[in-house]
Amino acid sequence: MPYFENSEKLQEVLGGFFRMLLDDPSIGQKLKESKLVIKFNYADPNLSITIDCSKDPIPLTFNDSATKPEVEMNMKADTAHRFWFGKVNLLAALTRREMVAKGPIPKVLKLLPVIKPAYDLYPKYLEQNGYQNLLI
């Protein structure tokens, strides 16, 4: 049974979380400095989220086919959900093709230390926004 019953729910939950990260003074600033344009393509349910860190303020768009991303990360929505809990071993996920990353990987790897604090923030975000049923 997938964690997210439909695309709308996924957009509401993950979209809200990403917006929170972008508004975080520390994480948001570092994302801005990266100037990375990254697109997450989720399956089951299907949704794409594009974050364009080259612009200020950083736009977050859904199912955006106009913005050309530098990096695309493809994965199931459930994998994304577990990832933000810090429960996904990134190296294993890539080699087992649970995640597929297209684009300049060094730019993505640069962000990993930046987003590590988000692993603590995600459960809190879910609690505070009434998504207790999504807690793992």
């Binding site: 990096v71 695309e72 071993n89 990134l90 190296l91 294993a92 890539l94 080699t95 087992r96 093709r97 995640m99 597929v100 990353a101 297209k102 684009g103 300049p104 990987i105 060094p106 730019k107 993505v108 790897l109 640069k110 990993l112 230390p113 930046v114 590590k116």
Partner: protein
Amino acid sequence: MVPDFFQFYFPTKVLFQAGLSRDFSNELSLLGVSRMLVITDSHLLKSGMIEPIVEGLKLGGVEKTVLFSDVPPNSELTAVKKACEKGMEIEAEGILAVGGGSVMDTAKAADILLTLGGDLVQDYSGAHTLTSPLKPLIAVPTTAGTGSEVTQVAVILDESNGVKLSFLDRYLYPTIAILDPELTLSMPPKLTAMTGMDALTHAIEASTSLEANPYSDAFSMKAIRMIKDHLAKAVQTGSDLKARSNMLVASNLAGVAFDHAMVGVVHSMSHSVGAVAHVPHGMANSILLPWGMEYNFDVAKERYSDVGKRLGVKTQGMAVDEAARAAIEEVRALRAELKRACGLPDRLGEAGVKESDLPKIAQLSVEDGSSFYNPREVVEAEVLETLKRAY
């Protein structure tokens, strides 16, 4: 300790023998390659090393070869495309790469283009983007070394915009790795020392990485022992085939180890030192290895105690702290021996880094992907202090 999850995948057939590069026809004939693209660099071509290897390919059924030797010191996109074009001239069915890390990376990336066509950057850059096997790749290292002959990664600079592209895929593992120590006999002492310390850094960092597992540990620990026993000799007496043989195998073992376990803060700092001050990678690793071990001391001392045993420290009866400190001192002692033997710098300032570079290096170190796998969080202020001590 066994982690909750790990994986180990190693499809490359490794063959070792002095002189093997001139005739590995038993294995070559099984690949069914009659047209081979040979990739090397101009220095190796001028040395005369390549000709007998290419001649030996005929014994394995290769009827036609084409040579690409314009590989720069660091792999670049233009060179990859030109190598592929060369291969297409004869519809090459396989690739032979003879050289160091840059040649290996160029060959891996050229293999992608030669097999699949398309645009290397748009279509394949990234992690595990390939969906089918590539043409056979035979890797023959001439340094000891990067271990690239047994890794699934290639890093290529896109010169047009200065972006480093990574290609990480199980299909990039070479089909065969030929370890012929005779090819390393002509390495000058300083290059021997730098590449050897690069291999030691791979092995030690793989042993403390967050991705370390029992399989990578077996490879890294063996590599550490072999490097300790043979690196100084290989530097002091380059003609010593036994020392060269052990170093070549050790760097290969270390390559397997870090391909699976990744590396850490030493590489984070080294990559950044290289980017800012253009210090060769092996030299930077050599200077920074003991300092990186100091950085990780509190979280990795049990592991450094094990490393110490492989470095020859008599750890029996020693407390863990003491054994770990002794391991770091052994690394320093090896480095001092190499400095006496060939003048390899052991300080960042000596290697051409300016003190004013250090803050930028510290900032880049935190952002380097290797820091993600370090057993202790890589913090900019603390890295800066470490760099100052290494200066």
